[in-house]
C-alpha cells in the first residue's frame, strides 16, 4: 500500500508482499482448503453431474464419479409408473442407505464461503485502490505478446534460476495465472454457488440461467473446483522450486530476502 514510493513501474519491486496481501492470502487459502474438503464431502452424497435445470438418480447423468458408495448404487424401486401431467416421468423410492455427511459439510462449506467472499471483496477493493492489481497482477501494456509468453514458457521449462525475492514483480505466466484465479476462477465459484441456491435463484433468475440451469451451474462449479485444485498444486510446486523457506517467510513475516 506504500504507493508514495516513486513511479508505478518501480514501486515495491523487491519489497516483498504487503501486509494486507499476506493477511488476505492466508484467509483465502484457509477458506479454499475448507471449501474443497467440505465441497468434496457434499459431492460424495450425490456423485452425479448433469446439464440443464434439473437432474436426479432417475434421469441420465453427464458424469458419474466413483467417489463414494452412492456411485451407481441402483437402490431404487419404481412405485409410480407415470403421472397424468408428467408424460413418462416416474417416481421411485430409495431402498438403499446412502452416505450423506451434508449436515456439517454444507454448513461448513457456507461458513468458509462467507470468509472467502468477504475477504475476496476486501482484496479486490484494496487491490484496486492501492494499485496492487494494476501494478503487480495485470500484465503491463505490451507485455502480453506471443513472444514474451513463449520466452516465459521456455524459461519455466529450462534450468531453474532462483529468484532474488519473494513477491512482485511477477513473471508473465505468473501474472496470467493469478489473474485467472482472482478474476475468473473464484468469481465463477461464487456465481455458480449462488446459482444453486433456491432463494438466490428465486430472487435473481438470471443466475442459474446464465449457466444453462441450476444443475449446469453445479457441473461448472465442479469443473472450476478441479481447475483451482490444479492451480493450488502447481502453485505449491512452484513455491517449493523457488525456495520454500524464503517464499513462506515472504508470505508470513513479509521480510524479503
Amino acid at each position: 500500500m506504500s504507493s508514495k514510493k516513486g513511479s508505478p513501474a518501480s514501486t515495491d519491486a523487491g519489497a516483498g508482499h504487503t501486509c494486507w496481501v499476506r493477511v488476505t492470502h492466508w484467509i483465502v487459502a484457509a477458506s479454499v482448503v475448507t471449501l474443497a474438503v467440505s465441497g468434496f464431502t457434499i459431492l460424495m452424497a450425490h456423485p452425479r453431474l448433469y446439464w440443464g435445470a434439473v437432474g436426479n438418480d432417475l434421469t441420465p447423468a453427464l458424469i458419474e464419479l466413483p467417489i463414494s458408495r452412492n456411485y451407481r448404487h441402483g437402490g431404487w424401486e419404481v412405485s409410480t409408473a407415470s403421472f397424468p401431467a408428467g408424460g413418462t416421468a416416474v417416481s421411485a423410492e430409495r431402498t438403499y442407505d446412502i452416505l450423506n455427511e451434508n449436515s456439517w459439510a454444507r454448513s461448513l462449506h457456507f461458513l468458509a464461503a462467507w470468509f472467502l467472499v468477504v475477504t475476496g471483496v476486501i482484496y479486490l477493493l484494496v487491490g484496486t485502490f492501492s494499485g496492487h492489481l494494476r501494478r503487480d497482477l495485470l500484465p503491463r501494456r505490451g507485455e502480453l505478446t506471443r513472444r514474451q509468453l513463449r520466452d516465459d514458457i521456455a524459461a519455466h521449462l529450462g534450468p531453474r534460476r532462483q529468484p532474488t525475492v519473494g513477491g512482485p514483480p511477477y513473471g508473465l505466466l505468473q501474472k496470467c495465472t493469478y489473474c485467472g484465479v482472482v478474476f475468473l476462477g473464484l468469481p465463477l465459484m461464487a456465481l455458480t454457488g449462488w446459482a444453486m441456491s433456491p432463494a438466490m435463484s428465486a430472487a435473481y433468475p438470471f443466475l442459474p440461467e446464465m449457466f444453462g440451469g441450476t444443475q449446469s451451474a453445479r457441473t461448472i462449479h465442479f469443473c472450476v473446483f478441479v481447475a483451482l485444485i490444479l492451480f493450488v498444486l502447481v502453485h505449491l510446486v512452484m513455491v517449493g522450486l523457488s525456495g520454500f523457506k524464503r517464499q513462506m517467510r515472504a508470505m508470513t513475516s513479509g521480510r524479503p530476502t
Partner: protein
C-alpha cells in the same frame, strides 16, 4: 495527496462492514434458531439474516410448464406406517395405518397456537379453499433436483381462516413420522408456500407425503415436510427438540 481521501473512504468502508457484521451476529435469540454455541449454526444464522436483509422478500420461485415435469425420487420416510423406516414413530405409525385404510377420510390437520380460532381441517375442508397448482423445482440437499406439479391450498389461507394473531412469528409443522419443521412468517405467508394434497395431476402419493405435505419453494427440499398432521403457530422461535434440525446438526434455514 491522492491517497488521503481513498484511505478515508476505505476506513469508512471497513468500519461499515464491521458494524453491520456486528448487527447481524448479535440479534435476539427469539427470532432465530439456537446455535448451542456451534460455529456452524452461527454461520447458518448469518446466512439467514443476510438473505432476509438483502434479498427481495416476495420474489417467486420459477414455475415451469407441464412438459418440464421430470422423474422424481422419493427419499426419507416413504411410509410412516413402516416400522423399519428411520424416523418411524410407533404411536403415529399405527394411527397413520388406520387413516390410510380409510382413504384418509378421517384424517384432519390440527391448527393451534397463536391463532384466535384453533381447530382442525379435513381434506375436504382444505379442498374447499381456492386451490393453487405450481410446477416447481424440488432441490434436495444431496445435490439432485426434480420438477413436479403441486396442487394445494396456500398456507396463508389456512392461517387466516384460523385467525392468525399479529404477534405470530413462526409456523411449526409436525409429521406422522418423527420429523418436524418450522418456517418464519415471511415463508409461511409467501404465495407459493402451499399445503399440497395433489401431485402431477393426481392425489399426493404415500411416498411423497400423503395426504398433505408442505411446499416451501425458496428453500431446499427438506423444509417441504411430508405427512403433515399438526400445525402450531408460535410468537417466538421454538426448538422442537430432537424432531428439528438444530438438534440434529442440520441447518434450519436452507435458502442456500
Amino acid at each position: 495527496m491522492k491517497s488521503a481521501p481513498l484511505l478515508t473512504s476505505r476506513r469508512t468502508l471497513i468500519t461499515g462492514l464491521a458494524s453491520s457484521g456486528g448487527l447481524l451476529l448479535a440479534g435476539c435469540s427469539d427470532t432465530q434458531p439456537p446455535t448451542y454455541g456451534n460455529v456452524l449454526r452461527m454461520a447458518d444464522n448469518l446466512t439467514y439474516r443476510v438473505q432476509r436483509l438483502l434479498l427481495p422478500r416476495q420474489s417467486l420461485a420459477r414455475e415451469y410448464d407441464s412438459r418440464d415435469i421430470t422423474s422424481i425420487p422419493a427419499i426419507g420416510t416413504t411410509d410412516p406406517a413402516d416400522p423399519h423406516q428411520g424416523a418411524y414413530n410407533e404411536k403415529n405409525g399405527v394411527i397413520y395405518q388406520q387413516l390410510r385404510n380409510g382413504q384418509f377420510a378421517d384424517w384432519r390437520v390440527r391448527i393451534e397456537g397463536s391463532v384466535s380460532r384453533p381447530g382442525s381441517f379435513s381434506l375436504t375442508d382444505l379442498q374447499r379453499f381456492p386451490a393453487r397448482t405450481q410446477i416447481t423445482k424440488h432441490t434436495c440437499e444431496e445435490g439432485w433436483s426434480a420438477i413436479a406439479a403441486w396442487t394445494g391450498v396456500p398456507l396463508r389461507r389456512v392461517l387466516e381462516a384460523a385467525g392468525i394473531r399479529p404477534s405470530a412469528r413462526f409456523v411449526n409443522l409436525y409429521a406422522f413420522d418423527d420429523v418436524a419443521e418450522s418456517i418464519d412468517m415471511l415463508d409461511a405467508l409467501h404465495p407459493q408456500t402451499i399445503l399440497a394434497y395433489g401431485m402431477n395431476g393426481r392425489e399426493l402419493p404415500i411416498a411423497h407425503g400423503a395426504p398433505l405435505r408442505l411446499r416451501v419453494e425458496r428453500q431446499l427440499g427438506y423444509k417441504s415436510l411430508k405427512f403433515v398432521h399438526r400445525i402450531v403457530v408460535t410468537d417466538r422461535f421454538e426448538d422442537m427438540g430432537k424432531l428439528s434440525e438444530p438438534w440434529n446438526g442440520w441447518a434450519w434455514y436452507v435458502g442456500i
